[in-house]
């Protein structure tokens, strides 16, 4: 195209115009020449005619002059007249010659002039000269004569005629010439118009041709552009122009523009495409892979690798993140990493420049295709920048060449790709940090859990320790007091030792006597009853024999009882032997049945024996003592029951229900319950009846019979067996005795014994006393009638081991005397020291001087200073932050309570006061 001979619009138009102008010039020149030659001809004609006429006239005149001169001379004879004659005669010749020469081209006219000449010559000779000579000769006659026939005149006439004729011919010739000129002139005008026409035609043709060629291409262009416009930007359309002019250039330029646009569109779509492709890609590897695969597609690359910067020890490393060969990402090509400046690619990083190589370095790797290894035609290394730093590099290789557009595409993509990489790296970093922080919080969580467990364990240990400490303290305290007591007792003992030896002598003596006295008759009874029971002669009925049996066995019991009395004294003295041996419990029910059903029958009582199945058969205890206890209790039960039933229940205590201490002693514990529906025992006597040799209350002895030994023996025996007896009883309802004993194959170990000793008897009436009644420490039942402010109410007070109220100082702040009085009496009974303040101000006064106050009971509604303010001041003005202040509030108002707490109350209790509750609260706040 470019090489083609170019014919622009400008030269086209110029040449057109030039042609037209040249035509015009040519025609003007031709016309001018024509006109000029015409003019010359005319001028020549005019001059010629003029000359001819002048010459003709001159010649004629000369002739005339000669005639006139001749005549003058002839007439006058004066020579003067001859002068013009001669002059004319001389000049005539010259003029004529000239005229003659002029007529050189017209022989006809020359002919005529020849004639004139001859005629004139003739005139001169015959007329002129002759006459002159005659005159001169004065020959008048001849002259007469001559004139007579006047031949001159004839000649003259013919000269005149001849001249006229000549003139006439000349005029005719001029006429012809003029006509010719006219004709020529006409021709010229015609030629002029003809020329004009031709030039016009040429101009029209040229302009139309030129304009056509211009307009056509322009139309072409317009058409194409219109098409492109209407095709919604299909930039594939191109303008085709055949001419080679500016329009062509325009078209070419437009085509170029279209190419450019097309390219740019390709670029943009590819750009957009690639951007959408790697949108939302979360990892840099995935990003690199997507990126590379797209780029490879767009650039027809056959292999490539993508490296991302990693900073290690403050040095930049570029690590391969993706690579492919022949669009296969599995194929691993390219080196794993490089540093800045290492190799071409490293150089590219260093210079932050895009490299494109069309001459492949020798050592460059070959592209492996299916057929073998082919060197790439072109490689393209592009650094990817972010904020002026190279953060990644891409290397591409192709078997063809990278077009400008492809290069541009890559460069453009790369421009924003840095940002993408950076944001992905950033995102990855954020995700990493997030994971890390998650892991850290998780770790923290674990740690905080760990801390919690540790603190709980510690708390546990502390609790255990404090418990142990408390026990230790208690024990040391006990030990101290016991020491002191012991000391005292020791002295007393020493003092009484002598007395005692005396006494014990008496006692032993008494007992010995007693047993002797008793045993002797008893022995006879035993023997006799045995004999009777044998019923040898058959004189007795079966029933009688059975009675004899009973007498015998009861007698035996009695004997053993007597022995026991001895034993009891031995127990007292610590001298009783206990023999732990195997006991078969399976026989126990029959045995008891055997012993007690006759009594039951007699008293018309029901006698039930229950033995639970899971009771073990073999039990280690002292059988004698054990049975003794049971018999004792049972006989008591039958003794004090007039109607209803007596029940004996034998069961084993479940492991879970055993206390720690019990478990420490044995895993098998027996619980034998003897329940009756008898007269019962009043609560205040529960303890008394177990006291040894307790005979203070004769009535009791009478009422419950016996020596008062039975239950004490039971109690002592139970102890000796490692167990204890408990009692639950209500007057008029009945009694329940429980014997609890362990199975002790190895006998009783002393320190365990002590422990048990401590927890002898539990008696309680509290409704929420746990069902397993061996809670150890509630020894005394304390039923008191308490005066309660509003109504009387039975306060079931639980036993206080030590009286926490003793010597405590309680400040009552109240303005109601009845309240004060009620509280005062109730509290003083317990050994509390009471102080009273009638309002807040007094309360503060007292607290200011008195540091011994343990608790403040604070009424709210008081004159002068109410409870809220008083409490507030106690906490803030007096700075008594720890002092327990218990607010006495009116019940319904939650608001009151909140205000109390705000003011600094430790606790609150609603009015009307429930003494039970009050004592509970005081206990809570009195513990330190």
């Amino acid at each position: 195209m470019e090489n083609k001979w170019k014919f622009g619009i400008r030269p086209k138009i110029t040449i057109g115009y030039i042609i037209i102008i040249v035509c015009l010039f040519a025609s003007v020149i031709i016309l001018n020449n024509q006109i000029r030659s015409l003019q010359q001809e005319r001028n020549f004609l005019l001059q010629y005619n003029n000359k001819v006429e002048t010459l003709t006239n001159n010649v004629e005149k000369f002739v005339m002059d000669m005639q006139a001169g001749q005549r003058g001379f002839v007439i006058t004879g004066n020579e003067i007249y001859l002068e013009p004659y001669y002059k004319a005669a001389g000049e005539w010749q010259i003029e004529f010659k000239e005229l003659y020469q002029l007529m050189a081209d017209k022989p006809d006219q020359q002919q005529k002039l020849q004639v004139v000449r001859e005629t004139t010559d003739l005139w001169i000779e015959e007329a002129g000269e002759n006459a002159i000579r005659l005159k001169r000769d004065n020959d008048d006659a001849a002259i007469q004569q001559f004139y007579a026939n006047d031949r001159g005149r004839e000649y003259m006439q013919s000269i005149r005629n001849q001249f006229n004729d000549f003139r006439e011919s000349e005029r005719e010739i001029a006429q012809v010439r003029a006509e010719e000129l006219d004709k020529q002139n006409n021709n010229l005008t015609g030629g002029l118009f003809g020329l004009l026409l031709t030039v016009s035609i040429i101009a029209i043709v040229i302009s139309s041709q030129v304009s056509k060629s211009i307009v056509r291409t322009i139309n072409d262009v317009t058409q194409t552009i219109k098409k492109i416009a209407s095709n919604n930007g299909d930039l594939k359309e191109r303008i085709h122009v055949n001419t080679n002019d500016e329009i062509n250039e325009l078209a070419n330029a437009t085509n170029d523009l279209l190419d450019n646009l097309d390219g740019r569109e390709w670029l943009q779509t590819n750009l957009a495409e690639i951007v959408t492709k790697y949108q939302g890609v979360a990892s840099i590897e995935a990003l690199a892979k997507v990126f590379m695969s797209e780029i490879a597609k767009m650039t027809n690359s056959s292999s490539g690798a993508f490296y991302v910067r990693e900073i290690e020890d403050n040095r930049n490393h570029f690590i391969k993140n993706a690579s492919f060969a022949d669009n296969n990402f599995e194929k691993d090509i390219g080196r794993e990493s490089f540093r800045i400046g290492q190799g071409l690619i490293g150089q590219c990083v260093q210079e932050k420049q895009t490299f494109i190589f069309n001459e492949i370095p020798e050592d460059y790797r070959y592209i492996s295709t299916g057929l073998g290894e082919v060197p790439p035609r072109s490689i393209f290394i592009v650094p990817i920048l972010f904020e002026g730093d190279v953060i990644a590099v891409m290397e591409l290789a192709t078997m063809s060449e990278y077009s400008k557009l492809q290069q541009d595409l890559v460069k453009q993509i790369v421009e924003t790709f840095g940002l993408s990489i950076n944001s992905v790296i950033g995102r990855m970093e954020i995700i990493r940090l997030l994971n890390e922080s998650r892991a850290m919080t998780e770790e923290l969580q674990v740690q905080s859990e760990e801390l919690q467990t540790q603190s709980e364990e510690l708390q546990m240990q502390t609790e255990e320790l404090t418990q142990i400490n408390e026990q230790l303290e208690e024990k040391t305290k006990d030990a101290e007091t016991k020491n002191k007591e012991l000391e005292k007792i020791r002295k007393e003992l020493e003092e009484k030792a002598e007395q005692l030896t005396l006494h014990s002598n008496y006692k032993s003596e008494f007992l010995a006597n007693m047993s002797h006295e008793l045993r002797t008759p008893l022995n006879s009874i035993l023997i006799l009853s045995e004999m009777l029971a044998e019923n040898d002669q058959g004189r007795l009925t079966d029933e009688d024999a059975e009675f004899a049996n009973v007498i015998h066995s009861s007698g035996e019991d009695l004997l053993s009882l007597i022995n026991d009395i001895l034993d009891l004294s031995k127990v007292e003295a610590g001298k009783l032997e206990v023999l732990f041996e195997e006991v078969n419990l399976s026989e126990l029910p029959q045995h008891m049945e055997h012993v007690f059903s006759p009594i039951a029958q007699k008293k018309n009582l029901e006698f039930h024996i229950f033995k639970e199945d899971d009771v073990i058969d073999l039990f280690f205890t002292d059988e004698k003592r054990f049975q003794q206890i049971l018999k004792n209790l049972l006989s008591n039960a039958f003794k004090f029951t007039e109607e209803g039933s007596v029940a004996l229940t034998i069961k084993q205590i479940e492991n879970q229900l055993q206390t720690e201490e019990m478990r420490a002693i044995s895993k098998d514990w027996l619980e034998v319950t003897i329940a009756d529906t008898g007269i019962g025992i009043p609560a205040d006597k529960h303890e008394l009846i177990f006291e040894t040799f307790q005979q203070a209350d004769g009535a009791t002895v009478r009422k419950f019979g016996g020596t008062g030994l039975g239950l004490s023996i039971c109690k002592q025996f139970a102890r000796l067996l490692g167990g204890w007896i408990t009692l639950q009883s209500e007057e008029g309802v009945g009694s329940v005795f429980k014997l609890v004993v362990p199975s002790l194959p190895n006998g009783l170990i002393l320190d365990k014994h002590l422990n048990i000793d401590y927890s002898e008897v539990a008696v309680t009436q509290s409704s929420y006393e746990p069902s397993t009644a061996f809670v150890s420490d509630l020894a005394r039942l304390d039923v008191q009638k308490q005066t309660v402010i509003e109504k009387d109410e039975v306060l079931v007070s639980l036993h206080d081991h030590t009286n926490v109220f003793q010597n405590k100082n309680i400040l009552i702040v109240d303005d109601d005397y009845r309240n004060i009085y009620a509280l005062k009496t109730a509290l003083e009974k317990r050994g509390v020291n009471i102080l009273v303040a009638k309002d807040g101000i007094e309360c503060l006064d007292i607290l200011q001087d008195n540091t011994e106050i343990d608790i403040v009971l604070m009424d709210i509604m008081m004159p002068n200073m109410d409870g809220y303010e008083a409490m507030y001041r106690i906490r803030n003005d007096l700075q008594l932050k720890e002092l327990p202040v218990i607010a006495l509030t009116a019940k319904a108002m939650k608001n009151d309570r909140d205000k109390c707490l705000e003011a600094g109350a430790s606790d609150y209790i609603s009015k009307p006061l429930n003494l039970d509750q009050l004592f509970s609260v005081l206990r809570v706040w009195l513990v330190s």
């Binding site: 919080t441 998780e442 969580q445 674990v446 905080s448 859990e449 760990e450 801390l451 919690q452 467990t453 540790q454 709980e456 364990e457 708390q459 546990m460 240990q461 609790e463 879970q656 229900l657 478990r663 409704s767 929420y768 746990p770 420490d777 079931v796 007070s797 639980l798 036993h799 206080d800 081991h801 030590t802 009286n803 926490v804 327990p884 509030t889 939650k894 309570r897 707490l901 430790s906 606790d907 609150y908 209790i909 609603s910 039970d916 509750q917 009050l918 004592f919 509970s920 609260v921 206990r923 809570v924 706040w925 513990v927």
Partner: protein, 284 residues
């Protein structure tokens, strides 16, 4: 330097060995008693073991193991050691306050309410909940299942007698938890214990249940399991969380201890947290 390295190595080996010993011990305990501590938080278990070793003057875990196997009551006392029963009434009072504020209004709409206290220890938490429900008038339609793997603590819990020394703190907790009445209305005290009124015990069922080995036994509207999961490894926590999820009614509530969280559990998406940091979650 070298010596130190050697020491460290020795220590490591020692630790490895002890880990192994503890594995054996826990396996033995599991086989002998059925109590499965194998997935308990190792550091805690190991401290408890060392505690016991110190007390009894035993040198190695294996020594302990021997006693566990051959001495009659030793296992029992070791099991006791493993059971950390620290608890309080209205422990973390804000939990109960939030419960009152956010959960109770929803429970109010239910015709009946089943609550499970898993790992209730000596019952303080259960009594607290019962008091709260009583005050909110929900007591009669509520049934509280209080479980623990330790029978002994359950026995204590049934008694409802708590050491008087702790009552001052409990009173404070009660008040901070938004208690409506005087705390003393709920108990009577002697000089050792405060005995809570038996009426509070109504509708409370104490039962032995082991979260590791036992299954769900009902569907509950509320499950409270506080300061139990901290003794478990993450895996076991996850297992127990699934048990809870299964045992919870739709829209049911789960209450955890203040150092515990659902955040790292798989079930976390199935719950939404109620009211900030109180570890009360609602099943969604």
């Amino acid at each position: 330097m070298d010596k130190q390295g050697e020491n460290m190595k020795l220590e490591e080996v020692y630790k490895q060995h002890e880990d192994l010993e503890i594995d054996f011990l826990l396996e033995a305990i599991y086989r002998l008693s059925g109590f499965d501590f194998r997935q308990y938080n190792r550091s805690s278990i190991s401290r408890r073991i060392h505690n016991r070793m110190n007390i009894n003057g035993i040198e190695t875990v294996t020594g302990l193991l021997e006693k566990v196997i051959h001495e009659e009551h030793f296992l029992e006392s070791l099991l006791n050691d493993f059971s950390i029963n620290v608890t309080e009434m209205f422990r973390n009072p804000s939990f109960f306050k939030t419960f009152r504020k956010e959960v109770v209004p929803i429970l109010r709409k239910y015709p009946e309410i089943r609550i499970w206290h898993a790992g209730c220890a000596t019952g303080e938490e259960v009594y607290s909940m019962a008091i709260l429900l009583e005050e909110e008038g929900l007591k009669d339609k509520a049934v509280i299942y209080a479980t623990d793997m330790n029978e002994q603590v359950l026995e204590k819990a049934r008694k409802g007698a708590f050491p008087i020394q702790k009552m001052q703190a409990y009173t404070k907790n009660y008040m901070l938890a938004g208690g409506n009445y005087a705390f003393s209305e709920y108990y009577k005290a002697d000089d050792q214990y405060a005995y809570f009124h038996p009426s509070i015990l109504e509708n409370i069922i104490f039962a032995q249940h082991n979260l590791v080995t036992d299954q769900s036994f009902n569907e509950f509207h509320v499950i409270i399991c506080r300061n139990v999961l901290i003794y478990f490894t993450a895996d076991l926590q996850e297992q127990v969380q699934h048990l809870f999820y299964e045992s919870l009614s739709p829209q049911g509530f789960l209450g955890l201890g203040d150092k515990e969280t659902l955040r790292f559990s798989q079930v976390t998406e199935k719950y939404q947290e109620i009211a900030g940091n109180e570890r009360i979650y609602q099943r969604v």
